[in-house]
Homo-oligomer: 530 residues x 2
Amino acid sequence: MASVDVKKCNDNTKSGEKSKANAKSGEKSKSNAKSGGKKEVKKETGLGLSNRKDENFGEWYSEVVVSGEMIEYYDISGCYILRPWTMTIWEIMQAFFDAEIKKMKIKNCYFPLFVSPGVLQREKDHIEGFAPEVAWVTKSGESDLEVPIAIRPTSETVMYPYYSKWIRGHRDLPLKLNQWCNVVRWEFSHPTPFIRSREFLWQEGHTAFATQSEADEEVLEILELYRRIYEEYLAIPVVKGKKSELEKFAGGLYTTSVEAFIPNTGRGIQGATSHCLGQNFAKMFEINFENVKGEKAMVWQNSWAYSTRTIGVMVMVHGDDKGLVLPPKVASVQVIVIPVPYKDADMQAIFDACSATVNTLNEAGFRVEADLRDNYSPGWKYSHWEMKGVPLRIEIGPKDLANSQVRAVRRDNSAKVDIPMVNLVKQVKDMLTNIQQSLFDAAKLKRDACIDVVKTWDEFIEALGQKKMILAPWCDEEEVEKDVKARTKGEMGAAKTLCSPFDQPELPEGTICFASGKPAKKWTYWGRSY
Amino acid sequence: MASVDVKKCNDNTKSGEKSKANAKSGEKSKSNAKSGGKKEVKKETGLGLSNRKDENFGEWYSEVVVSGEMIEYYDISGCYILRPWTMTIWEIMQAFFDAEIKKMKIKNCYFPLFVSPGVLQREKDHIEGFAPEVAWVTKSGESDLEVPIAIRPTSETVMYPYYSKWIRGHRDLPLKLNQWCNVVRWEFSHPTPFIRSREFLWQEGHTAFATQSEADEEVLEILELYRRIYEEYLAIPVVKGKKSELEKFAGGLYTTSVEAFIPNTGRGIQGATSHCLGQNFAKMFEINFENVKGEKAMVWQNSWAYSTRTIGVMVMVHGDDKGLVLPPKVASVQVIVIPVPYKDADMQAIFDACSATVNTLNEAGFRVEADLRDNYSPGWKYSHWEMKGVPLRIEIGPKDLANSQVRAVRRDNSAKVDIPMVNLVKQVKDMLTNIQQSLFDAAKLKRDACIDVVKTWDEFIEALGQKKMILAPWCDEEEVEKDVKARTKGEMGAAKTLCSPFDQPELPEGTICFASGKPAKKWTYWGRSY
């Protein structure tokens, strides 16, 4: 856990709305370059990012999501347009997760967007957590509604009155439902595309069991799926662990999460959460059943969710100064094929070779396109598809044609390889697999370099100043976490617990809490966070 | 077009909220039957519907969607819970449609739920059509918003400011986007599950082209997909045609639709619409581009949508007095396998045969489940799965076991066949195909029996009284349609045009309009509608 790349942990600014202007100017140069109806070959200029990831991260992020054509800023603050380049990533993750939960016999449903105030307020802790962010509909057409109606910030209170109705006996359990939907949280602080938006897309699972052990088991099964989304699909290392009492879900029993880390800002980010709600909601919503012994019992419940935030984490972790870097498993286009014309070259033969390459690879199951536009130079196209993060570029010029080969260039490390056409499918497959793994390995190396193990308050403060993800022995007391927050308050935001990792290092007897001096009960990750 | 089954065209009442009470009482008896934790074998009583489709259609509909476990009524009027039994149908149609539009190079995106008032009101005719139904958010938490924000009733005005931004040159065209989302129309008249709800799920496609001919072509390509959803998936005959000026989409150039008909209420129902918007929105939102000649031009636009209404039409058309009848192509469970125990029978062997049957059929690609619960009688299970509309039931008893066969019973016509185990996959496949076709044929026969061709006002009034779908020669004048509406106003609602079918019967020269006496220009379907 030595810090091999401390520079990566140094921050600049927090990403946010303020860089919108910059993003727009970046866009203008692009659309400018695209607007020509005439057959004028564009230069490579004007396409790059005007911000650097290591210099001004927030502006870089806002610029790259727009220039990479993932996001368009919308005229209502905190709302964003998800463009096709984003939706494919979302749909690929959705196909994976949806199939996995169907194997677990979890069924999809759709509950209304609207909640009546009485139901929303039924669970006290829960509504306290969400009330300030709830959007209220008070009018339809020109008429005032009799009662204002809330838009779901999450659906516990929407669903559970019906769980109470549907669940009567132990044979009705487990009840396992999921929905893919939009939710609204009218936040005011630092709206950021994907990461913190007023409306976002997610799935929310809501399950009810006869016993706690079944609920406990499912919490971890789902968390493992979230880990797989991050690590296997988005190539982002995450830590699985349990949230502190202060950070757990409002109204729940305990919360588990996968936590990612953004080296550039030195902030942890909650990747997805799987909550055991215990019996708190069951009590408030009277979700009772007759158990096998014929006695009245209360159900145990879970809820769990991941959202489009996942995509923002991916952009932050992998993107670079040339633009997006998409992991092959989630990329809309995995391979872009670009013809490289030379004077006196047989252009038709080159175009045919490009089309043949696309067909061969598509038939082999890859997502491949050719950019055959004749009003852009190859260099412009390279930059364009680099900006969009396509994992692999294939160039075909006269020399390649003559040698029955193509040139493949990796987006992640710019490595170039000549591939004989006869090996095309096999080598592209290997390269994509390799890119996927390399992205994960590189991200893990960077993340690990940001982890600091501390044992004292002074070490903690020093590590926090260096924007580390800090692993420290902790007494696990809520008051101590509040105290740490208070003592670290500042312009950058206070430190808080990220999670207590399930994978606990040894905690020698007599170890004391870094903050309170009391006996430590566990190792916990601390840091600033999104 | 002779009326072979006039009785089916006779109505009762319009379906709606008022039958909620009935639906609930039907439900109570069901959940009552399910609540027992003890191993008490239930009788067949209490499971059936308390309303008859031909006697009180509205109540029957509300009861069947609840008892069939498709819908749960929600505590906000006009909002409904879509249960897993519904969602599978939706997902199957979605998988078909989404794959088809992707072949057409239409890409998915996601635009925000919220619209600012200025943008919403940009296209005058459009906002006039939707204004009374728009829900407004005016508060977040305890604070009033600076400006009220609308919830999308449809997304033309949400999207098109960005089309204006993205489209510069002819190379940016066509721009073809689609989104799967929820929309809100705060209607006050007769909320009905699926058919007329305040929030519903749909897809909305929004495309922009350089030329009208491209737009025209796509309108029909999409309409054909809608026809296939109804006819191939939901087994419902529809008429493809063009809407009148009065009935077209607010702000559009022309609207095409697929129109279904509900014999029991004698009402037409708009199944899905594919609009050519012409250049009206392009003008208001300044969606211009530089064409191949380097001149400034305006785009031609389409928008098109189908919604969860499709599912309501399916329930209305196929359901019967035993409950839902699901077409095999969209059924969550296509085959339900039920063990039939007898005294002294080898129960384990029967259960094993049930499981083996399920496995064999699942491996062959069918959606099959066994109901092995030991606290319900076979009779109760038959009724239960009939209520839920499962297309095919397989019963396995000692005799079947001895003869290496199963008994298959069709939901649609109760026909029973013994199938030798060796032929299982082949015969089940044939039966499901046959059921799908039979449902369509039966629905078409009934629908056709409701079509009346009229030429005079008197014939028209008589046919309307008999709740027909009326095909009449029309002068195609807006004032005449308004006049027909005014003259037919009444408790049941006025008659209006459904569509002018693309498949036009011959219109002999000199044919006059049934309503105005002016020269007729086309044949048009008229009737009451949802």
